[in-house]
């Protein structure tokens, strides 16, 4: 299964990853506040992740790591 | 073994730099020091060095900043208007604690002024010039031989303390032809430059060179360290020449070209029965206030007379050194004019009589 990990402390809640995810599975968690005062991004349904790394590519703060099922495309 | 060569002051500076291991020179043409650039343009390729004609003095001093950060012995030279433009770089070099050598062959100002010799940049050279609390070491040679030796020494001082060291000359010295005695090998010390940005080569953590400290305590720490360093320099690096001061009635103070005129005046004054001495600061910063105070404090001394090619700049430091114990008079010429021996002698006679 493809998946991502988002560094919750590093995230600035900018929403760029939310914007580019083709599966629309990333949201800003309004119920969570990290130490820096941001609502960090989280994944709603990891099973739908295709490991495209769009989110990690656009994240300005290098918060996201990506694993892809079957390795590099 | 050593050999004696007849040389122009400006060329002596350039050759001294090369013999001191300087292989990087960045400059912008301006009279009366451009011969240094011409010399470097020919000599640097012979020693696998680099001479870059920059687009401005601002660029030149920033190239110096980069080369110094990269660990090189580096020099730039200019004259007054160009030195004004370099002040930004001086401040950054001070803040980043980089070693660099700058030569100012001073010309008459203010503004574009004239191309004739002057000493009107004393304030700018010794009191900072750029922004912030910093000092440059300032050396004031008075002969071609000294231009040579002090340029070599400037590189050692710069590296020893990671400071900008300035040679403050003037057009007379730059254009003067005098014999220079070259040593076969210059006393070039080697220094640890593990702080330099050379690329990590995989052997250490990354180095950074900067002058910015947003955090006030960190910036204050830098300033305290700088001040401690300046105190060390003041303790160890003062250079001064005293001539005929023992038992003198009148003490002259002068640097560079003016001091040469004063030495002749001392002889003339002796002929008419007035004992005149001279204190010649060789380092303008750190200033030799102890030597001046000592000479002035003798019971024989009636007054001091400071001679400069400006409207009265070093005289302020002389007065601070004398601290009110004796009157300190001033005689100066501006615009590129030199005081005549007679002018100075006339003043001396008035002071000796009073």
């Amino acid at each position: 299964m493809s998946r991502i990990e988002i560094d919750q402390d590093r995230c600035k809640g900018c929403g760029l990853c939310v914007h580019v995810c083709p599966r629309k599975i990333i949201v800003l968690q309004q119920d969570k506040l990290n130490a820096r005062g941001f609502h960090p991004a989280g994944v709603t349904d990891m099973s739908r992740c295709i490991g495209c790394a769009f989110c990690a590519t656009i994240c300005p703060d290098s918060c996201i790591e990506v694993w892809r099922e079957g390795g590099k495309a | 073994m050593s050999n004696r060569v007849l040389m122009k002051g400006n060329e002596a500076i350039a050759e001294a730099a090369i013999r001191a291991g300087c292989r990087h020179y960045f400059g912008y043409p301006i009279t009366p020091q451009t011969e240094i650039m011409h010399y470097m343009a020919l000599r640097m390729p012979e020693v696998n060095g680099v001479m870059v004609q920059a687009e401005s003095e601002v660029a030149a001093i920033n190239m110096v900043y980069g080369a110094a950060a990269a660990g090189a012995r580096v020099m730039t030279t200019s004259s007054s208007p160009g030195i004004s433009l370099k002040q930004e770089g001086f401040s950054y070099i001070a803040g980043a604690e980089l070693p660099a050598v700058v030569v100012n062959i001073v010309r008459a100002g203010p503004g574009l002024g004239g191309i004739l010799p002057a000493q009107g940049d004393y304030f700018q050279a010794t009191k900072g010039g750029g922004h912030g609390d910093y000092r440059n070491v300032v050396l004031a040679p008075a002969s071609v031989q000294e231009l040579y030796e002090l340029t070599v020494e400037a590189f050692n001082i710069a590296d020893r303390y990671r400071v900008l060291t300035m040679i403050l000359g003037d057009g007379t010295l730059g254009q003067m032809m005098e014999p220079v005695l070259f040593r076969d090998e210059e006393p070039v010390e080697s220094f640890d430059k593990s702080w330099a940005t050379t690329g990590t080569q995989g052997r250490r953590e990354h180095n950074t060179i900067q002058s910015i400290y947003i955090e006030p305590d960190a910036l204050e720490r830098l300033n305290s360290n700088l001040q401690a360093k300046y105190r060390r320099i003041a303790e160890r690096e003062v250079r001064v020449e005293t001539v005929n001061c023992d038992g003198a009635e009148i003490i002259l103070t002068a640097f560079g070209t003016c001091s040469r005129i004063c030495k002749n005046v001392i002889r003339q004054a002796a002929e008419i029965g007035i004992k005149v001495g001279l204190v010649r600061p060789i380092t303008l910063w750190p200033f030799p206030d102890q030597a001046i105070a000592a000479a002035a404090g003798q019971p024989s001394v009636k007054a001091l007379l400071d001679i400069e090619l400006n409207a009265g700049q070093m005289v302020e430091d002389v007065r601070l050194a004398v601290n009110g114990t004796r009157p300190v008079h001033f005689h100066g010429r501006t615009g590129g004019n030199l005081p005549t021996q007679q002018e100075i002698l006339d003043k001396i006679q008035v002071l000796a009589r009073s």
């Binding site: 600035k12 929403g15 994240c59 300005p60 | 660029a59 980069g66 990269a70 770089g89 690329g199």
Partner: protein
């Protein structure tokens, strides 16, 4: 079987950036750092930090770094490169830094064909000093010093730096890219890589102009800011290669 396809680059120190949320300076930093790491040149690289929001990126890049006075990075880089001709030297500069106060330094570094790379971040404002007009501010764009919108009659026209520098023989590779979409980011990375390859081959001066967002001073949320690059900036600053199209860089 899963495989890690995106990790943090060792080209960055890992210290969190101080930039505003969604500011694409961070993306550009990562692309440069990844390139240094992938080309295995981190150990021989010396970068020059500007004055601007990224003044302290010497804390972020894991290579040797020198912080320069405002606009002077190309001169500082010249000094470094002339001392260490075998090293890789880059400058990172904003539009105020490069296209206003540092115009002379960049033009002449390019004209001399200094073997350095410049990454020119065009965000159409002075970010750090709170949104004043930059030389690259668009006509009509409101900034804190052009509150009625930049007018050609009053403030003159924007400067297209890439087009201008591409007229210089010493500037062998000039490309303008943007970091406002995944596709553009990937393209930008290729350009950054090509710039370092050009330097490695000692060909001359290379610059990549990067259209970047300043959500804070544009008064836009980070996503709208990405869109504004396409809607407005690209019209004045078309993407593409302005010089060195023919240069082939291998893998």
């Amino acid at each position: 079987m899963e495989e890690k396809v995106f990790s943090r680059t060792r080209g960055l120190t890992g210290k969190p950036f101080h930039y505003c949320p969604g500011c694409t300076h961070g993306i550009i930093h990562r692309l440069i750092a990844e390139t240094l790491s992938e080309m295995d040149i981190l150990d021989v690289t010396i970068g020059v930090s500007p004055v601007g929001c990224t003044y302290n990126n010497y804390e972020y890049f894991a290579c040797d770094m020198v912080q320069a006075a405002h606009g002077r990075a190309p001169a500082v880089a010249t000094g470094i490169k002339r001392v260490h001709p075998d090293s890789m030297v880059f400058t990172y500069q904003g539009d105020g830094d490069l296209a206003a106060i540092g115009t002379a330094e960049i033009v002449h570094a390019a004209a001399r064909g200094e073997k350095i790379c410049t990454f020119f971040v065009n965000n159409a404002v002075y970010g750090m000093t709170s949104g004043q007009m930059a030389p690259t501010t668009l006509l009509g764009q409101k900034t804190t010093t052009s509150p009625l919108g930049r007018s050609a009659a009053v403030q003159g026209y924007p400067i297209n730096v890439s087009e201008m520098l591409a007229t210089l023989q010493g500037a062998v590779y000039i490309e303008r890219v943007a970091v406002n979409s995944v596709r553009n980011i990937n393209r930008a990375k290729q350009a950054i890589r090509k710039a370092f390859k050009v330097q490695q081959a000692n060909l001359g001066f290379a610059m990549v102009e990067i259209l970047s967002t300043c959500p804070t001073n544009w008064g836009k949320d980070p996503v709208s800011a990405l869109k504004w690059i396409d809607e407005a900036m690209v019209k004045q600053y078309p993407l593409g290669v302005f010089r060195g199209q023919e240069i082939e860089v291998g893998d």
